[in-house]
């Protein structure tokens, strides 16, 4: 659990919550367990967020996996206290937070956001309220803005470049109480 950086009391409380979500009491959460959270079920990107917890091809996530995913959202300042030069890049670094967001868009996990993928995610966010044409032009413009190597898709480095001025550390962090 050291790699996640959570304190002992935080882990205990999160385990208690994990256990209460685990209706099947088998020590792992399924997608249905997440869907049972009403505020998550009404989130337009709810399915993509839930998906981020499950490794490729699996549909159960154990507590360790649960914690690893949540660890991306620890605030960055917390790392200052336990700087360990040998542990590699922490899960909640700016780069890893951006990678998490990138993967929300990258549906097929091929490390590129294609026009089609962007359209699908946009469609999730807006529902039926915007026409296909309008959505298409929004997608085209977004890719045009970000795409620097002309391959009509957004790679992770292009994604990072476009968002370099955004306060990722604050916007993709959650304040965990001790």
């Amino acid at each position: 659990m050291k790699e996640t950086g959570f304190s002992h009391s935080q882990i205990t409380r999160l385990y208690s919550h994990f256990h209460s979500l685990d209706k099947g009491e088998n020590g792992a959460l399924s997608r249905e367990d997440f869907q049972r959270i009403p505020e998550l079920a009404i989130n337009p990107l709810g399915d993509r967020i839930i998906n981020a917890f499950f490794p490729e091809g699996e549909d159960q996530v154990n507590f360790r996996g649960f914690m690893r995913t949540l660890a991306h959202f620890r605030p960055v300042e917390d790392n200052e206290k336990n700087k360990d030069p040998t542990s590699g890049e922490p899960l909640n670094s700016r780069a890893n937070k951006l990678l998490f967001a990138f993967r929300l868009y990258d549906l097929d996990r091929d490390d590129k956001i294609s026009r089609d993928e962007l359209l699908q995610v946009l469609r999730m966010m807006v529902g039926v309220n915007i026409s296909d044409e309008q959505l298409g032009s929004i997608a085209d413009r977004t890719i045009q803005e970000a795409d620097t190597n002309g391959d009509m898709s957004i790679s992770f480095s292009e994604f990072t470049k476009v968002l370099e001025k955004v306060d990722v550390e604050q916007k993709m962090s959650i304040r965990f109480l001790h």
């Binding site: 209460s20 959270i37 337009p44 529902g127």
Partner: protein, 449 residues
């Protein structure tokens, strides 16, 4: 052998006379001998001592007031527009219209993860977490061995609760319920008259008082001048079936509910003989008009007792009040709101029907320290002009939540078992769409900035 039976018999006689003399008779006359008060005072002293011991024993940070009471995370409560607006400020803005940026997803992502860690709804369907241990094994989540003295007190507590209090309470409950069935059946034999009503009230209140003693219930009633009157509807927040016993200790109500089988069915059938309660068959429940009509007819008769309804429709864990179903607020009549708040320190009253059936739940109740609760009678409310049933229901709900110190939520208690409605997700999508497209129209009319 003979000697042993005799001794057992004498013991049993003594036991019964103690119960009748010291508990039942005072209960019937609404008199308190003060045993429960002393018991509670002693308990409070012991629990305070235990808390100090635990705090001293914890070598880590001292228990901050912001620990479990305030949850796992601290949330920003900005609206969608505020949060996404902030995100976009640092992004190079393009002027070709349509205001989507890749970082918009951050908002939904963060909200989603926050809700996975801590949401407003799922926590209401499990027992409340205590800020400090109350020496019951069942609430011992995160605490570990602290000291020998504490463990001894805990062991003593187990012995007292299971070997002394539990048999006493079971005896009382059995006496209370059987007296209820027998008493109401006897009263039911009388012809309708004032005497019958008076006797019926007496039997009901006595039995509920005995049952309340059977739970070591200490109830504080506030604002008794607002007590529900005949022909009205009493509305309260729901935490457990015990709510009925709590309220009926201070007044007589007509109950509303589904017909059950088994022991509940026996009780239902007998109490309806002595005074009119409203029991519905399962099939009738589906027909909302029929239900409304029966309730309307009941309250129209000013001689009948006020009906008692729990509009949440299900048990919530007493930290919040969830959506009130509008059905009870469409009938008309005066609503008498009542707020019930249990003190979780002495025993957790919440019935988690997914985890425990009725019998295990009652056993848990009877092996807790006590049930201590506050009941506030709120001033009567009626529907105002121009207010529809939903708004009226929300107004009553807020009043109850405010009085009881509970969180006022608009989420449906039915989410305990059912999925959330798609329309709520569509609302979110609509809100977001207007953020993308809205500025498009604005720029078209004003021109590029």
């Amino acid at each position: 052998m003979e000697g042993a039976w005799e001794i057992a018999f004498v013991f049993f006689q003594v036991w019964l006379s103690v119960i009748v003399g010291l508990i039942m008779l005072p209960a019937m006359f609404g008199v308190s001998l003060g045993f429960t008060d002393i018991y509670i005072k002693v308990l409070v002293k012991i629990l305070e001592w235990a808390t100090l011991r635990i705090q001293r024993g914890q070598k880590e940070q001292p228990t901050l007031p912001s620990q479990s009471a305030n949850g796992i995370i601290e949330k920003d409560d900005g609206s969608m527009e505020e949060e996404i607006g902030e995100l976009r400020r640092s992004h190079p803005k393009n002027l070709a219209g349509g205001d989507f940026t890749l970082c918009d997803a951050f908002y939904f992502c963060k909200k989603g993860i926050e809700n996975i860690v801590e949401d407003q709804v799922t926590q209401r369907f499990t027992s409340e977490e205590l800020a400090s241990w109350n020496l019951l094994t069942r609430t011992n989540n995160n605490f570990c061995y602290i000291s020998l003295r504490l463990t001894i007190i805990w062991g003593l507590g187990v012995f007292i609760r299971y070997c002394i209090l539990l048999p006493l309470r079971i005896t009382l409950a059995v006496i209370g319920l059987s007296w209820l069935v027998i008493g109401t059946t006897l009263v039911g034999l009388l012809p309708s008259s004032n005497v019958k009503n008076w006797l019926s009230d007496l039997v009901h209140i006595t039995c509920y008082r005995i049952c309340a003693r059977g739970l070591s219930a200490t109830i504080h009633y506030h604002n008794k001048e607002n007590r529900p009157k005949k022909g009205g509807i009493c509305v309260a927040n729901h935490t457990s079936p015990i709510d009925i016993v709590i309220l009926a200790n201070d007044g007589c109500y007509a109950m509303v509910g589904q017909v059950h089988g088994g022991l509940m069915g026996v009780i239902q059938r007998s109490i309806v003989r002595s005074c009119p309660h409203v029991w519905f068959e399962r099939s009738e429940m589906k027909d909302r008009h029929a239900v409304a009509k029966r309730l309307k007819d009941h309250i129209a008769d000013k001689n009948k007792l006020p009906i008692l309804i729990f509009p949440e429709g299900t048990c919530i864990n007493n930290t919040s009040v969830m959506m009130f179903k509008k059905g009870s607020f469409e009938i008309g009549g005066t609503i008498y709101p009542v707020a019930i708040k249990y003190d979780p320190q002495f025993g957790d009253a919440f019935w988690n029907s997914a985890k425990y059936n009725m019998v295990s739940y009652l056993l848990r109740m009877m092996t807790s320290w006590a049930i201590v609760c506050n009941v506030w009678y709120l001033p009567p409310m009626t529907r105002q002009d121009g207010e529809d049933a939903v708004q009226f229901a929300n107004r009553v709900k807020s009043a109850i939540a405010h009085q009881g110190g509970l969180v006022d939520l608009s989420w449906d208690g039915g989410l305990k078992r059912e999925k959330v409605k798609e329309s709520l997700k569509e609302e979110q999508q609509k809100m977001y769409s207007s953020m993308i497209v809205g500025s498009d129209f604005f720029e078209a009319s004003v021109g590029p900035a």
